[in-house]
Amino acid sequence: MRRRGRTILTAMAGAVLAAPMSACAAQSPDTLRERAATALRTGKYEEARSMYAGLADRADATTADRRGLLTVLTETGAYDDAEQRARAFAGSADSAAMLVPLGDVLLLRGKRAQAEDAFRRGLAAGTPDSLTARLRLALGQRARGERDAADAALDRFIDVFNNAGPRRLTSSELVAVGRAVQALGTRDPQLFKDALTAYDAAIAADSGAVEPRLLIAELFLEKYNAPDARAALEEVLSVNPQHPRALIGMAHVHAADGAPGAMALADRALAVNPNYVRARALRARLLLDLEQYAEATSEAVRALAVDSTAVEALAARAAAAWLAGDTAAYTATVAAARRHAPGDAELFVLVAESAARARMYRQAAEIAGAGIARDSTAWRAYAVRGVNLLRVAEIEDARRHLERAFRGDPYDVWTKNTLDLLDELARARTIRSGRFEFVLDSADAELLPVYLAPLAEEAFDSLAKRYGYRPEGLVRLELFRSTADFSVRTVGLPGFGALGVSFGDVVAMNSPGARGAGSFNWGSVVWHELAHTFTLGLSKHRVPRWLSEGISVFEERRARPGWGADLTPSFLAAFAEGNLAPVSSLNDGFMRPKFPGQIIMSYYQASLVCEMIEQEWGARALPALVAEYASGSNTAEAVRAVLDLELNALDARFNSWVREKFEPRFAAIRGATPLGTGERGGGLGEFGDRLREAEERLRAGDTTAAIGSLERAKELFPEYTDQRSPYRTLAAIYRARGALRDAERELAALTALAEDDYAALVALAKVRLTLRDSAGAMTALDAAMFISPYEPEVHAQLADLAEATGATRVAVRERRAILALDPVDRAAAEYRLARAYLQAGNRDDARRAVLRALERAPSYQQAQELLLELRRTETPGRSR
């Protein structure tokens, strides 16, 4: 259902933008009408309201004047005024024409019975909006669960369209037809396409029509097709940048894309229409994502005060109650929704989606299941249940639900993508190893377990010991060679930029081959995601995002030198300027970043919070804090219980701790330009001055002076590891001079801080080899494998070193890795593996490996000699 974008409403916009807007009493009514209409279309609501009010009060006021006024009032949330005026208009001479607008205003207030009465009266009085009235009545029937009668009524819209043809229907009639067939789409998904056809026809009938564009966008959003939704919304917003419904649509697009700005767009919509229920509901949803349950409840309650029947608001209220563990409020809200819409599953879908965003995947699947029980044609509920079952590794059940969803609605992009992903997963290799189940692309299936299995087991033991928690079953680790597949696994759509995600006992991440070998440290990602598995499990999935991320980064740093985020000047600059979120609202740093880069900084910031807690409260504090959430505590309660602090005190303590810990670094970057405005994203103070000085001296050929500047820069900010890092430049200088011991020192320091500098590790190994430091070279190459395990030459080098130094376990591992890379010279690789096995004292595996070598190359002399040697030295009497 992807479509090309339409041309922007150029003609309309041109006319609108050319004329300056101002209410002018002296103008003729027709001129005033034209200007009022233009003001309304372009979002100059105050002007429009003023002009339409004047026109509507005139004795010669037209229906269009009155409708225009009602539109302004409803779009700006003046619902009381709109209702009063609509009632007054409905009692006037053109009551037939005003009854449907009255009904629409009443619907916005949740006065459904009165609204339906208005629609019926309108029909009886021969309203020109008869199709709209019929549509509203049918949708009302549907909401009440009178599905058959409603569908019969909606079905008649198809006849209307077919009998009249698009050219004989007005734009608003075509909108009604489109809305009717869209509703019937749950019965026959082809009707979704017909709905688009009707909306297109509505636009053709009135090129300036906003409603069909909004409906198109909302339909695409319903199908998780954010790009096409965005295109339709941009058409509306290009003419009226203030349109509240379009702003909320765009906010949903941002939320779907995982892009920042959704909350700001919702706020803009509320600035125009403070009573806009969908905007409040969206704010509530976004606050839930920030784990601010009380604030979300408050927003939902405000929305329900406007329209107590609004399903999005009810869903937000229910989700907030559910997430906060307020069962009574949840039950009451669900009951309220049931009274208003007994056969509707949407509330459950929305609550399930909120639960999933709060990482409670199994519960999300259960809630979606409740929706299916309510409405067996709620395809989205099947999809949400399927996706969340997949997240808890109930693969077959997940597939069953997703296939059911797809049969009902083949236009749901998330469902389609996820089913495609399941097909890919079916082709992947599943390997059980100890306490893990690895799901790997066939290209990785032989190689990665060589490293993955011991690493994962080590992480398991380390984390289980520290957190006192053990996952009950196997932990499933899926590594995707395709970033798109990983993204679909995570968010249903391509484009998700993270490296890994933990659903609890199921972890999905990019394979080291997914982004071009050497672009990230896949070992640290494994460790990071497994740490989530433990913190999610220990907290019953209630640990807040910031703490879970902080612990994961902190645990990375503990796992290996260089792993995990490190201090950067930009972090300190942001901290010094007060741009980072305080600990008490650190989720904002992840979910609602104020500037580019804040999310990355928030990971590091959260890890520092964890470091501080462990340093100041002891090793048991972090596990205790995580465990505290399992009982339903919020962060304030957990911090109070475990750290005996109020949140504001924790904020203050952290600030002091950071300032004290990094005091010399703050001094080093003092004078740094504000974030984002300086060269390379911000100045670097004295540290930056020394770097620049070194670069200038190097350009001038004064290497000795450059070394002085670089040493000073290193002293000022030793954690700095980006491309201009003093370590890197010094290492290059020393290598060029043949001062290998100095080069080794710099490269060692660099790689102890930077987790993904493959080139530096390989260079370090080379330097150490030249210095005859085999053990050191091995250490460097060993670390390099977690950045790129795909270089046979590096494996061979490490294997040779391991054999030479008697590190037989490493030698065997590396020889196995070479074989896993499917070398052309497989016979030689098997032979070398056989030798490694033999060196490790594993004669059986040595014999099998040498047989495999000779099976492929029977005349392979060295392998033959090894085979004969194995026979000669075989223990007498041993049988095979």
């Binding site: 290209a443 081959g513 997914a514 982004r515 071009g516 070998a517 790129s788 795909y790 270089e791 046979p792 890379l821 499917d822 070398p823 052309v824 010279d825 497989r826 016979a827 030689a828 014999r847 099998r848 047989l851 000779l854 099976e855 492929r856 190359a857 029977p858 005349s859 392979y860 002399q861 392998a863 033959q864 000699e865 085979l867 004969l868 026979r871 095979r880």
Partner: protein, 361 residues
């Protein structure tokens, strides 16, 4: 290892075979035929009829365009020529190298790689070649065009596949192998295919027009040790193809790029190349027999009846290993392993005895 500038035929390198004067190789060829008879006609892989004739090589390095290609093409062409002589025993005088810029290495490059010079070189080889000799023609450069008009870009007018087909027609019935490492080279297979023809192309079709890396890996098969998959001390064109193809895939996978060159090998004459040739039939069978190196053992066996007997045993054991492998899928793993080990131990002992008599493969 590279060849010194002054080197000619008979330069000693890493392996013994390359030190043998070409005249003796002729002698070996005859001896090999005799040993084949001694072995009771068993088709021992090392004594195939394809190994009996001499190999003539013409390497054409085309227009590079950019400097980086100039260096790459030259290194490939020069490296291949050198490796064929030094490592694989092809006599220096039977390796002809034509390049876009002969001044880069006049000791190796005999003329500019223009169409007339290519014609002259081919004519010269044709005149010198015995009926059982064979030709390896390697084209390095950029390609364009399609069908019979598929071209390799050389100084002056390009050389098309159709023109090359006409040039090569008179080589029949000799075996001719054409390796086109250029972009858009795929259509050379259908145009040049025929009896006793091996056509290797870097791409599957003329539509694959991105620069290729197949050439550097094909050359690496000759310059390094990794391509001799069966460890018999000799390199077949099939092994070289497989090596290059696998390495190309590996590089693309490592760099997380979509493969934009799909190498093909055609040697069954149907004009349709295959990506994964087999050993015994269809595409791959002829390339498997187009072998560089070897022959020493057979030469010695002609005058040593004990060695000849060992070689007979060896050939029989190899056949039994091959037969066992063919039955592997239907066998219990332990039984297979046991039988395989028994055969391989016997084979190792036979080879050890043969080597003790100087019969190194």
């Amino acid at each position: 290892m590279d060849v010194p500038e002054s080197a000619g035929a008979g330069v000693t390198g890493a392996r013994q075979v390359q030190a043998v004067p070409s005249a003796l190789k002729r002698c070996w060829a005859a001896s090999a035929a005799m040993v084949a008879l001694l072995l009771g006609g068993a088709p021992a892989p090392s004594l195939d009829a394809q190994a009996l004739g001499e190999t003539h090589v013409l390497i054409v390095s085309g227009i590079p365009g950019e400097p980086r290609f100039a260096n790459a093409f030259h290194e490939q062409a020069r490296g291949l020529a050198s490796a064929l002589v030094v490592r694989h025993g092809v006599p220096r005088e039977r390796v002809t190298l034509l390049a876009a810029d002969p001044s880069r290495d006049p000791s190796w490059i005999s003329a500019r790689a223009t169409k007339p010079e290519i014609s002259k070189a081919l004519a010269r080889i044709r005149l010198a070649a015995a009926p059982d000799d064979r030709l390896l023609l390697v084209l390095i450069g950029h390609g364009s065009g399609s069908g019979a008009n598929a071209r390799i870009n050389i100084p002056g007018p390009d050389l098309s596949a159709g023109e090359l087909a006409r040039e090569l027609a008179s080589f029949a019935p000799r075996t001719v192998a054409v390796v086109n490492t250029a972009s858009a080279s795929g259509d050379f297979a259908s145009v040049l295919a025929g009896d006793n023809r091996i056509i290797i192309t870097a791409t599957a079709s003329a539509q694959e027009r991105n620069e290729t890396i197949f050439g550097e890996h094909f050359v690496a098969a000759f310059t390094g040790d990794g391509a001799d998959a069966d460890k018999d001390g000799r390199l077949s064109l099939l092994e070289a193809y497989r090596y290059a193809q696998r390495e190309v895939q590996r590089v693309y996978e490592r760099d997380n790029r979509l493969l934009t060159e799909h190498a093909r090998l055609e040697d069954d004459g149907d004009g349709r190349g295959t990506a994964s040739p087999r050993d015994e039939s269809g595409d791959g069978a002829l390339a498997r027999r187009f072998v560089f190196g070897g022959g020493v053992v057979a030469a010695l066996a002609a005058s040593d009846t004990v060695l000849a007997g060992l070689l007979r045993q060896r050939a029989a054991l190899e056949q039994r290993v091959e037969a066992l492998r063919a039955r592997k899928d239907g066998m219990d793993a332990a039984t297979y392993e046991h039988e395989l080990e028994t055969l391989l131990v016997k084979l190792a002992e036979v080879d050890q005895a043969a080597r003790a008599r100087g019969g190194k493969p």
